[in-house]
C-alpha cells in the first residue's frame, strides 16, 4: 500500500511539475466566430509556452520570406513587448467604425486584441511574456540576409 502511494505520489508530482512548466506563462486564448452559414467557430485555450514551440516547428522555408521582410520590424516589436510589461492594465486603442469595434489593451499582463463586427468576432488574449519568447524565437530563425 505504501509502495503504491509512493508510486502515485511520484507520478502525480511528475505530472504537476510538467504541468507547472507548461503553464508557467499562463494560458493564451484564441476565439473566432464567423456569423455566416457554415462559418467557423474556433475556441482555443492553450498553454502560452507552446507559442515559441509552434514558431520553432514551422518549416524554415515557409517562414523564411516573411521573416526576411519582418527583420527590420522585429527589434521594434521586441522593444514594444518589453515595454508592455510596464503597463499590465491599459487601453491602447479603441476604434469604432459603424458596427465594427476593435480594441487593443492589456489586462492582467495579457495582451488582448478584440475585433467585433456583425460578420465575425475575433478575440485574442496572449500573455506578454509568451509573446516576448515568441519574438525571440522568430528573431533567432530570421535569415541573416
Amino acid at each position: 500500500m505504501l509502495l503504491l502511494s509512493k508510486i502515485a505520489l511520484g507520478f502525480g508530482c511528475t505530472v504537476l511539475v510538467a504541468g507547472g512548466y507548461v503553464m508557467r506563462d499562463g494560458v493564451m486564448h484564441i476565439s473566432v466566430d464567423e456569423y455566416r452559414p457554415g462559418g467557423d467557430h474556433v475556441h482555443l485555450h492553450l498553454p502560452a509556452s507552446l507559442l515559441p514551440m509552434i514558431a520553432h516547428f514551422v518549416p524554415q522555408r515557409d517562414c523564411a520570406r516573411a521573416l526576411r521582410e519582418a527583420r527590420d520590424v522585429l527589434p521594434a516589436a521586441k522593444v514594444a513587448v518589453l515595454e508592455l510589461h510596464k503597463y499590465p492594465d491599459a487601453e491602447f486603442a479603441d476604434i469604432w467604425d459603424g458596427d465594427e469595434h476593435a480594441q487593443i489593451r492589456t489586462r492582467g499582463g495579457k495582451l488582448q486584441i478584440d475585433v467585433e463586427s456583425p460578420r465575425e468576432n475575433v478575440h485574442l488574449s496572449l500573455p506578454v511574456a509568451a509573446l516576448r519568447d515568441f519574438l525571440d524565437e522568430l528573431e533567432s530563425r530570421a535569415p541573416d540576409n
Binding site: 505520489l9 522593444v79 515595454e83 499590465p88 486603442a93
Partner: protein, 214 residues
C-alpha cells in the same frame, strides 16, 4: 519502528498537502514561477507607470458610419519603439526629409529664427478662403488656421518650443522624433493639436492618465 513509520507517514502527509496545493495552483490556471515574477513585476510596473506621460489621440467623425478612434500611447514606449525602428526613412528615431518635401524652405533656419526671437505674431495671412496665424507665446509655438468655407475647419496646433528645438536638433535633413518625444515627456499636461470642422474633431494631447475620457 513505530516511530519511524509515524515519521514517514507525517512526511508523506505534508508532501501530499504541498502536492495538492500545487495541483490547485495549476488547475486554477495560476502561472507558477511566471505568476510570482509577474506579480512582482506588475507591482513595480504600476509604481513606475504612475509617473508616465501618455499621448492621446481622439478622432470623432459624425458623418457616414460615425467613426471614433481613441489611441493612448505611453510617451516612453513610443520613444523606445521608434528608436528601435530602422526601416526606410525612419532610422534610429530620426526621420529623413527631403528638401522637396518642404518646398525648398529651410525649415531649420525658420524654426531657429522663431526660437531666438521674442514672443509675438510672426505670420498672419488673411484671405478669402482662410486665416492663418503663426505665433510664439509663453514658450509655445502656436499655429491657427481658420477656413472660411467648406466645412469651416478650425485647426489649432500648440507645440512647446523645447519640443520644436529637439525635433530639429538632428542633421539638416532630419527630424529627431525620439528627442522630441523625450522632451515632450517632461512637459506637463499639454494640448497639442485640435482640429474641428462640421463633421470631424481631432484632438491630440498629453497627460498622465492612461486612458482618454469621452
Amino acid at each position: 519502528m513505530m516511530e519511524r513509520v509515524r515519521k514517514t507517514h507525517r512526511l508523506s502527509r505534508s508532501f501530499m498537502t504541498a502536492a495538492l496545493a500545487l495541483l490547485f495552483a495549476v488547475l486554477l490556471g495560476v502561472p507558477l514561477s511566471g505568476g510570482a515574477a509577474y506579480a512582482a513585476q506588475s507591482a513595480s510596473a504600476s509604481q513606475e507607470s504612475k509617473t508616465d506621460r501618455w499621448l492621446h489621440v481622439r478622432v470623432d467623425c459624425t458623418d457616414g458610419k460615425g467613426e471614433k478612434v481613441r489611441i493612448n500611447v505611453p510617451v516612453e514606449m513610443a520613444e523606445k519603439v521608434l528608436g528601435a525602428v530602422n526601416h526606410d526613412r525612419l532610422q534610429g528615431g530620426r526621420i529623413r526629409i527631403h528638401a522637396a518635401e518642404v518646398h525648398g524652405v529651410d525649415l531649420r533656419a525658420i524654426l531657429d529664427a522663431v526660437r531666438t526671437s521674442k514672443d509675438g505674431e510672426f505670420v498672419t495671412v488673411q484671405s478669402r478662403e482662410d486665416n492663418v496665424r503663426v505665433a510664439k507665446r509663453s514658450g509655445f509655438l502656436l499655429i491657427n488656421v481658420d477656413k472660411k468655407e467648406a466645412g469651416r475647419d478650425h485647426v489649432e496646433i500648440r507645440v512647446p518650443m523645447k519640443v520644436v528645438d529637439a525635433l530639429v536638433s538632428a542633421g539638416k535633413d532630419e527630424l529627431d522624433i525620439v528627442a522630441a518625444l523625450r522632451v515632450l515627456s517632461r512637459e506637463g499636461d499639454t494640448e497639442l493639436v485640435s482640429v474641428k470642422d462640421d463633421r470631424n474633431t481631432v484632438h491630440v494631447w498629453l497627460d498622465a492618465k492612461s486612458g482618454s475620457t469621452d
